[in-house]
């Protein structure tokens, strides 16, 4: 039976059909739904876990793959940076059971810090990589990836991008049965990475590269389509855009679809190079296919005319589209010019609609308390990755820096050691604290930094859709485990001041920050209040209109989407308000009830 599956759901079903035994990851858009789906459809024989971060996830999965079990790791592209230490090493060591690293790239970027390209990582790490162009392909490729991983005895990457991860298509739901392999760890020197072993294994990796390249020329998802004299090379979702862009003119073109960007299927590409008169390369993120074709034409002495990102025929950043491809084709005189529909000139200006903290979000209350406590102090607010990055927006303006997961707490130390006069604050969410914040706190303590650590503990991993983490006492599969308390960790590390406060209790929240401002060393305030999106049956507040003097302080200071001005008076949108009550604390008329 066919079901409508999102690309990430298709990966989960494919992995289950391939007999995966262990699946680990850390939430990150656009990769998150793979593990969530696996946990949901798990017939009981798969160990599925949200690991504390991507490095831990990779190591857990590698351990499983050493026994012959099939293991899956999932992450977004920046998570791959965190996991890169074990992943770069494991290729030297090898695995026994299939090990598939699923990485979701984010062209745009739509929901990420960077536009990095995992295909480069594959080449750098000498890990074979598959690149899927649709949910249906993702379903098949993850199964193929497990088979190739075992065939070559090493890890394999399955790379996807947002428009594959989060697009839905009909996929046949497979019959699944438990893995037949009996896991066993055979002791031997091959599992211990030593320089001498790595020297030998590096030679093997180099030797197998052309072998896998030849093998991949036979891989059915690597394709040459059509017999036209204009070549189009593409891979991943760009293939769908290319098909759409050239619909009705297919006879002009010959498409080289690259499903295995590393090792590059050279023999297949070679016949494409020699059979075409001109080549355009359409790929998102980096010009990897383009560079491979340029390299190959140089190596083989072929005079090829290759256009893509290198000659600025294709934009360097952002998503591709069928329209963008048509524009490039027309700029190269291949297709008729197509004007992109523009917004009509006589329409009113449409203001931006940036994402915002939800109405009732406890982070708003935390930021507001810190802001007010620091009204007479010079302070720098180091933010981190999560919903609370949105605290940067006016009117809060409470995020001065944001770099990478867990980076705020350490970055704040650099500010301190540079001897600036401002007081450094580090804001970090509960999930991010567990993922990579703890090390930063240890670093601060041992190297005598002074900073105020604000933990925004909303009891979930909110931005990616409410995943569990070690502080919650619940696993991805719903099992109850002992929660790890953030205040216990901080106290055990040696912090002398750790205050736990409900940020929606404004007077106490303000007092807690003021207390911290009077202290020295590393001191922490844990603002603990559940994510408002998880609350049910909240009761909205309303403005007692006759008493409202229209000062608009609540609107100007809080930036709450439920509050707006109507004929100069504040009004509360009852469908948005969750009744957090922060606005009541700042209304000079006490007219919010």
């Amino acid at each position: 039976m066919k079901e409508l599956l999102m690309g990430n759901e298709a990966v989960a079903w494919g992995a289950l059909a391939a007999g995966v035994s262990v699946a680990c990851g850390y939430p990150g858009t656009p990769s998150t739904e793979v593990l969530e789906t696996l946990a949901k459809i798990n017939p009981g024989w798969v160990h599925v876990e949200w690991s504390v971060n991507e490095k831990s996830a990779a190591e857990v999965a590698i351990g499983a793959a050493y026994t012959g079990a099939r293991a899956l790791i999932t992450m977004k592209q920046v998570g791959l940076n965190v996991a890169s230490d074990p992943l770069l090493c494991v290729n030297y060591v090898g695995v026994k059971g299939g090990l598939v690293i699923y990485v979701a790239d984010d062209p745009g970027p739509i929901s990420s810090q960077t536009e990095q390209d995992t295909r480069h990582f594959a080449k750098y790490a000498c890990i074979p990589a598959f690149d899927c162009s649709s949910p249906e392909e993702a379903f098949h490729m993850v199964q193929d990836a497990f088979a190739y991983s075992e065939k070559y005895g090493g890890p394999v990457i399955l790379r996807s991008t947002t428009r594959v991860c989060h697009s839905c298509a009909p996929v046949e739901i497979p019959q699944v049965s438990p893995p037949s392999v009996i896991p066993e760890f055979e002791k031997g020197s091959q599992w211990v990475i030593f320089p001498r072993l790595s020297f030998l294994n590096k030679q093997k990796l180099a030797a197998r590269e052309p072998e896998i390249s030849r093998d991949f020329c036979q891989y059915p998802f690597n394709q040459r389509i059509g017999e036209g004299k204009i070549g189009i090379a593409c891979g991943g979702i760009s293939y769908a855009y290319v098909k759409e862009a050239i619909e009705g003119q297919e006879h002009l073109f010959q498409i080289l679809k690259i499903a295995t960007p590393y090792p590059f299927p050279e023999d297949l590409a070679l016949s494409f190079l020699t059979d075409t008169e001109k080549i355009l390369v359409f790929e998102e993120l980096d010009p990897l296919i383009e560079d491979e074709l340029i390299y190959l034409s140089g190596k083989k002495g072929i005079c090829a005319h290759i256009s893509g990102k290198r000659d600025h025929s294709v934009a360097a950043a952002g998503e591709l589209s069928a329209a963008a491809i048509r524009r490039t084709l027309s700029a190269h005189g291949i297709c008729a010019e197509v004007a992109e529909p523009q917004p009509a000139a006589d329409l009113p200006h449409v203001p931006n609609r940036p994402p915002v903290l939800c109405a009732g979000c406890p982070h708003r209350a935390s930021f507001y308390a810190v802001k007010k406590a620091c009204s007479e102090q010079q302070a720098i607010f180091c933010g981190d990755i999560g919903c609370y990055t949105l605290g940067n927006a006016p009117p809060l303006n409470m995020v001065d820096t944001c770099l990478c997961m867990g980076g705020g707490v350490t970055l704040a130390q650099g500010l301190f050691h540079s001897k600036i006069q401002d007081i450094p604050f580090a804001f970090i969410g509960d999930s991010t604290f567990f993922a990579s914040g703890i090390n930063g706190v240890i670093n601060a303590l041992t190297n005598q930094a002074q900073l105020i650590l604000i933990i925004l503990d909303n009891g979930t991993t909110a931005m990616t859709g409410h995943q569990s983490h070690p502080g919650l006492g619940k696993t991805i599969s719903g099992q109850t485990v002992t929660p790890i308390r953030i205040e216990h960790i901080l106290t055990a590390l040696g912090l002398e001041s750790v205050q736990v406060v409900d940020p929606l209790d404004y007077p106490r929240a303000l007092a807690a920050v003021k207390t911290a401002l009077q202290q020295n060393g590393v001191r922490a305030v844990i603002f603990r209040s559940p994510c408002v999106a998880l609350l049910k049956d909240t009761v909205p507040l309303k403005v007692d209109e006759p008493r409202c003097i229209g000062c608009n302080r609540c609107i100007r200071e809080l930036g709450c989407p439920a509050l707006s001005a109507h004929q100069h008076k504040a009004v509360i949108d009852a469908t948005l308000c969750n009744g957090c009550g922060l606005c009541r604390h700042i209304c000079p008329q006490s007219c919010i009830v």
Partner: protein, 191 residues
């Protein structure tokens, strides 16, 4: 048949994804090839969002291009204006009579234009649906996404598909009756 494209736009949190998923599943069960694209993550926190549904004999790309939508369904008034250039010249607009001021408007840096629906009418075939009021009447303002789904079904002439059955199969039992009523009220709201 040529591929049809339904563009659902709104504000993160308004339920565009659920409406698109129901629509796409119904189309798939009716035998169409379908593709749907949605955006998760940061923009879901009150940002401008879109869900894209395409159906036909064979659908290639999951993404709708500017000038490519047969119907633009806006869950919020201003968002219809933002996405209007995605509409085909012959396309239709369904707009929910519901305004959510974005933060630059709330803080006074920008203005929410007064007569957007009139502006839309000058450029396209527009049907206004008061989905917010209908959903509130049915007892749950959050059901406005399903009212709008009903409007799409009628406007795209897809009433032959058994939507009631699909709702029973996919929606939590406590919300089945509400959603069935909402989808019918949405259909009635379009001529």
């Amino acid at each position: 048949m040529t591929t049809k494209s339904v563009l659902l736009v709104g504000v993160g949190g308004q339920g565009t994804i659920l409406a698109s998923k129901l629509l796409t599943t119904g189309l798939m069960q009716a035998g169409y090839d379908v593709k749907m694209s949605e955006i998760h993550g940061m923009s879901q926190r009150g940002g401008s969002v879109s869900s894209q549904v395409r159906y036909g004999e064979k659908v290639l790309s999951p993404v709708i291009e500017p000038g490519g939508a047969d119907i633009l369904v806006s869950f919020e008034v201003m968002e219809a204006l933002r996405w209007l250039n995605y509409l085909k010249p012959t396309g239709k607009v369904i707009v929910n009579q519901y305004q959510l001021p974005p933060m630059p408007v709330i803080t006074g840096e920008a203005v929410y234009a007064a007569d957007i629906i009139e502006d839309l009418r000058a450029h396209a075939d527009v049907t206004v649906v008061n989905a917010a009021a209908i959903a509130s009447e049915l007892g749950n303002p959050k059901a406005m996404n399903i009212v709008l789904l009903g409007a799409i079904i009628k406007a795209m002439q897809l009433t032959d598909i058994d939507w009631e059955q699909l709702i029973r199969e996919t929606v939590k039992p406590a919300f089945v009756d509400l959603n069935i009523k909402a989808v019918h009220r949405g259909m009635e709201a379009v001529e």
